[in-house]
Symmetry: C2
């Protein structure tokens, strides 16, 4: 994983964390509701996890945002 | 994979295909430029692949769209 990829995944992790805290959920609660392990949520938030779309979708559903909103890549044309 | 998940992945596949055709690329050309196998692109477009974010990002970069744009989940609040 290169630095650019790591930065991208960290951006996703930051958005997950931001939404989770806004909903006052712990990592364990988010994991439980999404059907994912607590440590999985932690690794996503630390940008260590190359998340698959269906897991991203499960998180997004609990966080009540469209999955696209958790992806922070700026517009390549911007 | 339930029907809803399959529909979500098919939506992503449709967007990849739409952009690929708009850029007049074959699946082989998209795969080569993205550093992914041609058959991988085909399985994504058929909605058979639970794509990981970094692969989605590679496709998005070649297709010149932000990765978020390839995710078609409608806004849960809409």
């Amino acid at each position: 994983m290169n630095r650019d990829d790591k930065q991208f995944l960290q951006g996703v992790g930051d958005r997950v964390r931001e939404r989770r805290l806004a909903l006052k959920l712990t990592q364990a609660e988010l994991g439980k509701r999404a059907g994912l392990h607590r440590t999985f949520v932690g690794s996503v938030e630390r940008g260590e996890r190359n998340v698959a779309l269906l897991s991203l979708r499960k998180l997004a559903r609990v966080l009540r945002v469209p999955p696209a909103e958790l992806l922070t890549e700026p517009d390549p044309g911007a």
